[in-house]
Amino acid sequence: EPEVTQTPSHQVTQMGQEVILRCVPISNHLYFYWYRQILGQKVEFLVSFYNNEISEKSEIFDDQFSVERPDGSNFTLKIRSTKLEDSAMYFCASSDGQINSGNTIYFGEGSWLTVV
């Protein structure tokens, strides 16, 4: 069964450093997402991406965050200058169509980011 794959599975970084989290969505999918889950809290939407541009972003997704689809397979989340409160599990996800058309979002295993 096709999967969303994410790397790294775990990264420890110093506050102020840049981090890039990588994702390979399911191959025929067109919609891409990043969600995050701070330890013990709910899963929160960060950003959605379609047709090479951001469809929507949450208030969490400030200027420190950016997303990119550098080639036909990868989808990356960059945090320019990490803060302690960025420590979380970051989930990449993809879907082959819009939710309103009855499609499903499939998630990766997550990248656990620890900022020290």
Binding site: K42, T104, I105
Partner: protein, 114 residues
Amino acid sequence: AQSVAQPEDQVNVAEGNPLTVKCTYSVSGNPYLFWYVQYPNRGLQFLLKYITGDNLVKGSYGFEAEFNKSQTSFHLKKPSALVSDSALYFCAVRDINRDDKIIFGKGTRLHILP
């Protein structure tokens, strides 16, 4: 605003007994509802969804959920629990203001006692 509520932080069930994980929703318009499961140190796995049609939806691993419009609920059920069902379960609803976003509940930890 759209939202889902999972009133229980944790549910404990003995192995072999039926289990229910509760979810209620608040949506203007037709709700699209989802259940996801997160096993320890793993990602979110899709279990099932309700879009339209039969109120009883069957999903992966023997789980099912019943859409109840009058009670605005979408409880997850399984007739006979397994220890391996122990995990964190998330209910989610589509954001009707966006075509491509879902909103998660806070999650319910299901603990199956051997």
